[in-house]
């Protein structure tokens, strides 16, 4: 039956080609489409790249061609049928040509190609958040099937918050791209770090008398049952006259290691003159990368204000710390890149799955580059320590949070390049030499989605499988459980 259906479908689709204008002139014009998918390389399993034609015309026909198939679609919004798209992309390349009708005659724009490369992890998760300062009435951590347009809520704060008892949710994180070991934080009302581990849900209070806060930015150890966290006392302030509207800074920050089996935390770094943040493991789990900034202001009640006064001079550099997972012993800190010496600030280190590349976000100052328009993605070759700005994927606006796919061929990153205000997700392919192809916007069913959607996409993380715990189970668990406290252990040094 299936064998019969496919040729019929092909015939039907080919029939659409009857809509391809038989007579037209070449306009020599490059098409203007939104999102800009011209000349991009995409995963062979990605959802259709629906787009809007940003040109004026009486009528529009878009012809998508693959090896032996043409698909003609009418209209300014081009929505490509999923099955046809996947079949055509399977040929390795599709060619797109847009025809515009003016005064009764058709003109053809220059065609563009979309190339297919390796598959991408089929799922990502992200937080949807309005780009606000303090309010968080409705936040969701959602997962998206990258091969289609299906989106599902992992957890939403509206399932728990009660009137003015609000709940902020953040920092979803998985071990080795699998969702059987995952965590996120629910702050304030009924708050705690929610962890799924060995099929059990836990709610933890990672704050101890010896640490400055509960765990914040997580990094799950790839081989052992540890999670490195930063601990932060974070504040935000508003720029009076700047396009970067908000500044987020830490008054204090350290690094801790949570041992899941022992249910204890221990200090990794807690230098009082350093703001340590954003831990990230090397794939072998024997090195922890992180960033840190020097600040030696006094610890008094004006510390927060002083930190903000010094905001322009707080700059983070990249560091690494050897770690023995068997003994939990830490080696001496090594400087990976002294960004502060270059009057720059490096944040969000993430190591590629093959351990060769270290990607980070670089801006002029500060730790929260999502609010810094000058922030760009950079990448270091860990074999020789050389690094470069990824000019081929950066934009004049913000590039910030990024995540490697499990095969190391794709990155997904957040950027405000489209309108300067709302964060959107872009994906780019990396070749063997560490060169990226033109990034493309996360495909959406509605081509106008990115322009009209009033939420920002935050913390994109790849997953090889969906989160299977239903949202209502997370909600019921958060509502019904007390946050379990953890013990504190001394740091072990080599």
């Amino acid at each position: 039956m299936r064998k019969l259906l496919i040729p019929i479908a092909v015939l039907l689709l080919t029939a659409c080609s009857a809509g391809i204008p038989s007579e037209f002139t070449e306009s020599g014009q490059d098409p203007v489409i939104f999102p800009d998918y011209t000349g991009v390389t995409v995963p062979s399993n990605i959802a259709p790249l629906n787009f809007h034609i940003g040109m004026e015309s009486d009528d529009f026909i878009t012809v998508i061609s693959a090896a032996q198939e043409d698909l003609a679609l009418r209209g300014q919004d081009v929505r490509i049928p999923e099955k046809a798209w996947h079949r055509m992309l399977g040929s390795g390349k599709v060619s797109v040509r847009i025809f515009l009708k003016d005064n009764g005659s058709w003109k053809a724009c220059n065609s563009f190609d979309i190339s297919a490369a390796e598959d991408i992890d089929p799922y990502i998760s992200y937080r949807l958040i309005p780009p606000s300062v303090e309010s968080y009435e409705r936040l969701t951590i959602s997962q998206r099937d990258l091969t289609s347009f299906k989106e599902k809520v992992i957890y939403a704060n509206s399932m728990v918050q009660d009137g003015s008892n609000g709940q902020c949710i953040n920092c979803h994180h998985y071990r080795n791209y699998r969702t059987d070991a995952m965590q996120f934080h629910a702050r304030q009302y009924l708050g705690g770090t929610v962890m799924l581990f060995e099929g059990q849900l836990r709610k933890l209070n990672l704050k101890t008398d010896s640490t400055i806060s509960a765990g914040v930015y997580p990094a799950w150890h790839p081989t052992h049952d540890y999670i490195a966290y930063s601990t932060n006392k974070t504040h935000q302030s508003i720029h009076m006259a700047d396009h970067n509207r908000i500044e987020v800074l830490d008054e204090e920050s350290d690094l801790i290691l949570y041992d899941i089996r022992r249910n204890t935390v221990s200090t990794i770094e807690n230098d009082s003159s350093q703001f340590e943040c954003y831990p990230a493991w090397a794939p072998d789990g024997r090195t922890l990368y992180y960033v840190s900034a020097f600040y030696d202001g006094p610890f008094d009640r004006n510390r927060k204000d002083r930190v903000f006064l010094a905001a322009d001079d707080i700059r983070y550099s990249l560091y690494a710390k050897p770690f023995n997972p068997e003994t939990r012993a830490w080696g001496p800190t090594q400087t990976v890149y002294d960004a502060a010496a270059d009057s720059m600030s490096a944040t969000l280190p993430r190591v590629s799955p093959d351990g060769r590349w270290l990607m980070f976000s670089l801006g002029r100052q500060g730790v929260f580059h999502i609010w810094h328009k000058d922030a760009d993605l950079c990448m270091m070759d860990l074999r020789d320590g050389s690094w470069r700005r990824l000019d081929e994927i950066n934009s004049p606006d913000v590039e910030s949070y990024h995540s490697w796919s499990s095969n190391g061929r794709w990155i997904i990153f957040s950027t405000r390049r489209e309108d300067g205000a709302f964060t959107r997700l872009y994906i780019a392919h990396m070749d063997n030499d560490g060169k990226f192809s033109k990034p493309f916007a996360l495909p959406q069913e509605d081509p106008g989605h990115n322009r009209s959607f009033m939420y920002s996409y935050n913390i994109p993380e790849f997953m090889v499988e969906p989160v299977k715990v239903p949202a209502r189970r997370f909600a019921a668990f958060i509502r019904s459980s007390q946050a379990q406290s953890v013990g504190f252990e001394s740091k072990i040094t080599e």
Binding site: R138, S158, G163, H239, D242, D419
Partner: protein, 645 residues
């Protein structure tokens, strides 16, 4: 006897018809004429887009469709006569529907108007809660929800078969709940109650099924949603507020439900009640009117605030200032009466404590504007360029909101003040905070677009303008703004041309702690940059006069003289300079070219104050105001320690 009965029936019908027409007409007229600013405020806080996406999104939450319909109707409040007409017609429609659904006999027809009355009062008693109420389409949703519920009850009552009625109730408790939220659940319960009264033993089964369905259906379908708490299932679709004590709309709907449940229970008895005399109905109507008088929120300052803010939103600065002027004029007779009554009361009293008591008692009877009114008036005069001559000609004060809960000024006019005083990042901040808390609205999209335009962030401005282009009543404005962007004419067009010169300060990191007035005051008086413009220094002068700090005044005054180089000094600056230099015994400043009348006025004021010793500011304020009101020195001495919030 028969003739007499017929005559009475005819009279009853005439009265009923008259009230059915006169009351709604009067209600509509009052809303349109006297409450148009309230209706416009309600409308500006909502958003209906001519787009399928919001409709599709509405299905993600029980009651979402009703909310979507509510916002659809709320957009018509942009034309207050039309929006209020639609609402009035809905309320009118509820009366016969109620009578039929709950089988209210003609003899008790005024009972059928109870839901309409409660729903009307639910909205009209809100007052300041209008700034902090949450709920998509909240203004129309309870009315629409009630209409749907009553129609369901009516339909259920007309169905004969037990099975078909239970199927209907099951549909209402599931699909109905999905579309209309708790209103569908209340319909199920009310239909059960009606069945109990009208269907004998069969009715008991239906009633039991109804209760089970209303209780269990939300639990059963809860796993399909991720947008709310299970515990909130039975209130989905009701407006809410995070501010305690502001749950009147819920209360109103609860009363509707309880009264209709009672009507249902009494339906059988009432049907056999004898035909009542017309006076009973008149008493019922009189009761409605009396209750309306008691609960309808009608604070003049609130209405003036709304009118001033509405005018300021439209940059109609003359109107903004004139509203305060008219409010003071309107109150002049009652002020005089209060003054005379207080004088009489004080005549008999010698004890100081008792004098304070009397003064306090009467102080509320004098007209006094709220802080938002004062600040909006200042802004308006500043935009008109006459603040130096007129800012203190108006009544001043800090009258508290006549409300159980004080709504912060930042929620009322924060974004407006920040935008027009050239602090777009703070305008942006409060727009987005409001959008997160209460949902996107025409008003915050407008300010977000204007903020982006004044910051020359064209892409994001386009995004907000695109949204407004999908609305019925703001598309024209959005088109105009887009045309300005396309023509690269933003900086020269109003209101941007007045705002940009105020954006001449160094960037700094700060927080307003939601205290708008003190934050703007601090901004203009303490953070002047070397490249300050004349407009900035004018604003600084206005705020330094409000600050009542002498060294700050002189600092701002020198800057003002430097950047404005005025041919003649505005009157209030002269008054302040003369008074401050006299107080400081600063001979240099006493030689400024003051108007003769300024010197004479101040000297007369000092003389008068010596001959009329001030025992307390509250006691003497009105007396001094009659003689010296409209001067800076009156403001300086008699308007101290203003409370801002």
């Amino acid at each position: 006897m028969v003739k007499e009965k017929k005559r009475k029936q005819d009279t009853g019908r005439i009265i009923r018809a008259a009230f059915s027409i006169v009351l709604p007409l009067a209600f509509w007229f009052i809303l349109t004429v006297f409450y148009k600013d309230f209706l416009l405020k309600v409308e500006s806080g909502s958003l209906f887009l001519l787009d399928w996406q919001p409709l599709l999104e509405s299905f993600s939450i029980p009651g979402g469709l009703l909310g979507w319909l509510g916002t659809f109707f709320m957009q018509f409040l942009h034309l207050p006569w039309l929006g209020s007409l639609i609402w009035t017609v809905m309320l009118m429609a509820s009366v016969p529907l109620t009578a039929k659904a709950f089988r209210i006999p003609g003899s008790l027809w005024c009972l059928a108007a109870v839901p309409a009355f409660l729903l009307a009062m639910g909205n009209m008693s809100l007052g300041y809660a209008v700034f902090v109420i949450k709920g998509t389409g909240w203004f129309f949703v309870p009315t629409l929800g009630y209409l749907a519920a009553a129609a369901t009850v009516l339909l259920s009552g007309r169905m004969k078969g037990l099975c078909s009625r239970i199927i209907l109730l099951a549909l209402a408790a599931t699909a109905g709940f999905w579309l209309a939220g708790c209103y569908a659940l209340s319909a199920v319960v009310l239909a059960g109650i009606m069945a109990l009264r009208t269907d004998g033993r069969k009715g008991s089964g239906i009633a039991a099924a109804a209760v089970v369905l209303a209780a269990a259906a939300p639990v059963v379908i809860y796993p399909l949603f991720t947008t709310y708490r299970l515990a909130d299932s039975w209130t989905m679709g009701l407006p809410s507020s995070d501010i305690a004590g502001l749950m009147r709309l819920r209360f109103a709907y609860l009363l509707v439900f309880v009264s209709m449940a009672a009507a249902g229970l009494l339906a059988g008895k009432a049907a056999s009640a004898p035909e009542k005399d017309t006076p009973v109905q008149i008493c019922g109507i009189a009761g409605f009117l009396l209750l309306s008088w008691l609960v309808w929120y009608n604070d003049p300052n609130f209405m003036s605030e709304l009118a001033m803010a509405g005018a300021a939103d439209n940059c109609d600065w003359k109107k903004t200032a004139s509203i305060l002027e008219k409010a003071a004029q309107k109150a002049s007779k009652s002020d005089e009466r209060a003054f005379n009554a207080r004088a009489k009361a004080l005549e008999r009293i010698s004890d100081a404590g008792e004098r304070d008591f009397i003064t306090d008692k009467y102080s509320g009877k004098f007209f006094e504007p709220t802080r938002p009114m004062v600040l909006l008036k200042d802004l308006a005069l500043f935009k008109l360029g006459v603040e130096g001559d007129k800012a203190f000609l108006y009544r001043d004060g800090d009258r508290k909101q006549k409300s159980a809960t004080q709504v912060p000024m930042v929620a009322q006019i924060g974004k407006l003040l920040y935008f027009h005083y050239g602090m777009p990042n703070y305008c942006h901040r409060w727009c987005i905070e409001e959008a997160v808390e209460y949902g996107w609205s025409y008003q915050n999209l407008r300010y977000m677009a204007m903020t982006a335009m004044v910051m020359e962030e064209w892409d994001v401005a386009g995004k907000f303008l695109d949204k407004l282009s999908s609305t019925m009543f703001y598309r024209k404005w959005a088109r105009q703004q887009k045309d300005l962007i396309d023509a690269q004419a933003v900086s020269g067009a109003a209101p941007y041309c007045d705002v940009r010169p105020l954006m001449c300060y160094e960037d700094r990191l700060s927080s307003d702690m939601a205290m708008v007035e003190t934050y703007i005051m601090k901004h203009f008086t303490q953070f002047r940059s070397p490249y300050a413009t004349a407009q900035y220094d004018r604003a600084a002068m206005l705020w330094t006069l409000r600050m009542q700090d002498i060294p700050t005044f002189w600092r701002c005054f020198y800057c003002y003289l430097e950047t404005s180089n005025p041919k003649s000094l505005p009157r209030h600056y002269q008054e302040a300079a003369y008074m401050y230099s006299t107080l400081e015994k600063s001979s240099g400043m006493q030689d400024l070219p003051y108007d003769k009348s300024v010197k004479e006025g101040y000297d007369a004021f000092m003389k008068f104050s010596q001959s009329h010793p001030v025992r307390s500011l509250d006691e003497s304020r009105y007396q001094f105001m009659k003689k010296f009101g409209g001067t800076f020195y009156f403001y300086y001495y008699f308007t101290r320690n203003q409370e801002t919030f």
